[in-house]
Symmetry: C2
Amino acid sequence: MPVHQHIRVTADAVVLRFSSKEGMMVLLSKRSIPPHIFKWGLPGGFVHNDEPLEDAVHREIRDETGLKVNYLEQMRTWGHPERDPRGRILCVAHLGLVKPSTSKLILGAGNKEARWYSVKELPATAFDHADVIAGAIEHLRTRLRSEPLAFELLDPKFPVSELEKLYEWVYNRQIDRRNFQKKMHSLGLLSVQQEKLKHPLQGRPAQLYSFNRQKFQELKQKNGYIEIFS
Amino acid sequence: MPVHQHIRVTADAVVLRFSSKEGMMVLLSKRSIPPHIFKWGLPGGFVHNDEPLEDAVHREIRDETGLKVNYLEQMRTWGHPERDPRGRILCVAHLGLVKPSTSKLILGAGNKEARWYSVKELPATAFDHADVIAGAIEHLRTRLRSEPLAFELLDPKFPVSELEKLYEWVYNRQIDRRNFQKKMHSLGLLSVQQEKLKHPLQGRPAQLYSFNRQKFQELKQKNGYIEIFS
DNA sequence: GCAAAAGTGTTTCCTGTACACCCATGC
DNA sequence: GCATGGGTGTACAGGAAACACTTTTGC
């Protein structure tokens, strides 16, 4: 059996970026070779023989877009025999998160083209990548309830409203500002920063906070589970 | 790159069975060939070129143990380059659940030996399979909070106490019987059955229930999320 | 002073939790 | 009748949800 097996493996990533202004954006790169030439696909590619899966994802993202994601986790493996016309190719899909301030793309001299697309307005995508993106959003919906992944999508210092709008986007519903703040403060996950938001477009400048990761770890250790959002 | 890639893929399963008497048991099969000959490993093996991953798992479990799992889902892919001495081999790990009444092993004429082991008293295991089993329990801990996987581990008709003890095992803490029943009944997930438990070892015979899957789907559709257990 | 967004407190209701007694059966 | 596990109700506390007005800034 093993000698006859011929299955190839790619490591791909749904890299997300969020801002209240633009909503959730996903990083796509334009394919320059068949199959699905000129369609948009997830950054990723074939894993090297001696390379850990996560390393492969980091490498491919860097090579295709110059980006360095600050958070990466595996989601699931897509393995339908017919998902790739070139033969049997598994896709080990990952979720990558970047902060708005570090999401500038640096496109190399190569012929790759890459850009951010709104998750709500995707172009024609290659392979089953639209399914993978949908799976990533669903994955986020599950994880954001109890894991501090939201903070990986925000700058190190952020106003509470930005956190709130991220949750509103992910769960597609309105959240009461007062109750949300109360919950976050009662959990103790937010540390007040000296600064306030500079140059708000309009209105009163917002207090900035940072994520108190140590407090989160303490709570998790003590209770085993933390409901951040219900 | 693709032409030089040489990575093989196995589909393996952590198959679990639960009873209040024996606790959580995992299905292991004794390896009859190197590497790790005579150690105990998860049922699984190399995926066929044109075979979906889940089919491969079902096939391997059936071939090695005669068992038909009634629930199967993918967990995650283990891909450390050094995890298998034979070369680069990915393990797409799955979670399989069987009901106590359908967990009898049928060992074929082959030289495979298989048996149930208590998750709390594992023998020496092959590869990184101990990690995979630990990951499966952690996976259960996450999923049982909001998904009705517990019912896949119980017979079609079960006493509430069995459901409760399953949760007690998974979360490793005591649960108040009255509050647990109240919660389950208020959710409406349990349908009363005509029968009561026959021949209880001692004490009053328990009322049997079945899982009301339709009600669960309704709730999930309406609220998007159901907290079964906190 | 007006428009825009940020900050804040109280009441109500519901849900989680703690807790103890009676019931049905086998022996 | 006794041992064993099953079934049930109440009271309290804490968290979730609903809800409106004041504050700070830019223009």
